[in-house]
Amino acid sequence: MLTILFDGVAYGMLLFVLACGLSVTLGLMNFVNLAHGAFAMAGGYITVVLVNRAGLPFVAGLVLAFFATAAIGALLERILYVHVYAKSHLDQVLFTIGLVFMSVAAIDYVMGSSQQFVQIPAALQGQFDVFGVGVGRYRLLIIVVCGLLTVALQFVLMATRFGSRLRAAVDDQRVARGLGINVGAVFAITFAVGSGLAGLGGALGAEILGLDPIFPLKYMIYFLIVVTVGGTSSITGPFVASILLGIGDVAGKYYFPSLGAFVIYTIMIVVLIWRPQGLFARGATR
């Protein structure tokens, strides 16, 4: 029972790191980025190549995955995404689906369609018992890393100048512009960091989520659930939503294996009917 809770929390933390970038970009630019999972996949594959083929230590692989994906995100944002912000939601959907298709085909061609695994150091494998509760070392690592990241993000968002600019831009882009905040630059940085976090999440989660070329399509719905259920006005909303989603998914698969992912989708639809703005939204501002 507690093991399931533990696994669920680890899973939820992972989802949060994967999806928090998406929630900020969605709230900031009202931009539907279905290609967010592609960045996560990129991070995962970068780690696979670095750790398995080049023989780098696992931690170095994680750090490099973050920076490499952030760089890719910044590049694509400045070159391609900027043209699409002002377009309709349909265009945004088509554009990002196009990106997903290209990334899926490219990864399929370069790395093959089979599932990839990251070689995890022996020290992180296995379980140990804490008062009779089985605790996986790797999952503990995930919880620690993601927990630290969450605290750091919350700190940046709430206590730094950049964070207050970002919050101002999310609340009302036009007024923020009028106050002299360079919303474009704030957005570019946020996008890059969000992509980097997705890449890190993809690298960390390769073990749990599985890494294959259709990753962006498979987990797109999970990211979107986190964002729509959690709302886009803060990061606490998505955080609570991803923890709930993680626990719900793990528990659902454990207790009702015959229903599978069905539980999650049903919960999502119910929440969306009940509160279309998300569970933790402060109400519609726009």
Binding site: I221, L224, I225, T228, I273, P276
Partner: protein
Amino acid sequence: MNNKIDTAVTRFLTNRARIGPFELAFWIAAFATIYLLPGRHLILTEIAIWGLFALSLDLILGFAGIISLGHAAFFGVGAYAAGLLAKHEVIVEPSIALVFAGLVAAALGFATSFLVLRGSDLTRLMVTLGVALVCFELANKFADVTGGADGLQGVSDHLAPVFGVFRFDLFGHNAYIYTLAWLFVMFVLARRIVNSPFGLSLKAIKGNALRSSAIGIAVNWRLIAIYTLSAGYAGIAGGLLAQTQAFASLSMLSIDRSADVLLILIIGGPGYLYGGLVGALVYRLLQDFLSSFSSRYWQFWIGFVLIMMVLFGRVYGGIIAAVIIGATIWFDLSPTWSFLVLGLSLLVLGLAREILVKWIALAEQQVSTWLSRVWTQSKSTIRARLDHGAGA
């Protein structure tokens, strides 16, 4: 006074609904393929089914402005309904079974339409996607009914000939005629609906839902009606596929299919009904043609085309993408090189977008002024010649 307005409105509506020469030519060509291309009936059947499916999406996207990422739910439900009806010998006459398949899908559409009414584009996207995923999971879990991952077998065993006469043959001739007839009937119906006052009110809702409700349009009920209708259309398309292929599988419910039908509609252009049909024709023929080079590129190419279409507009983006992809095929590049070329050209075109768009606009302007000058000149020379002739 009232009468005058009435006649004006009637005249407007009749003018909108007038059948143009291109439309006539399109359908004559479509029916001519029955005799002219007897060897291509299998792929033509598939194209007609995709066309009907895209038409169903056009009804909600092009006319009511609802973005759906889960339209395959209705397609798949229709397919399974038609398949199960035939397999268990409930209704063996295909055309009646198909009507039922459409009704089942429409019922699902009606039930889920209330979800689609709520919220923004993103919520709609999520909910449609969620409904499709739930349907997929259900079909997967209830394997004893649907056959699960193996698909629904044994559809053809009990399927009676159409009207008791025309059996689905191996070469798909009768299947094609049957499918085309359905497509035509459903198209004519859709055409009537979108040209009716109801169709006009949908366009108003798409333009601005708040203002349409202010002039007395019952926004929600109109949306529910068109969503239900569209689901029924998708169900019939799915049922057609299940009947003509004698098979129904999980892939008919998958998100790939929802994305594909969206692409088809976008390639053909939403909002004028023929978009789905043209898109299906182009998409399927391209897929057939390009897959002979390598099926690996297909998704990469489609992604590239989509991005170009968003960046440079549907027409010019399509042309640019076609030129670049055509060049990689023409120079017979190795896979690695063509991936690199496409990826790099994506970045370069993204950087140069502003300039390119300006050039395109400039070129467009020059061509149009040139055309209008040629037109007025030729008119004046003709008039001068006529005057001259009259004078002499």
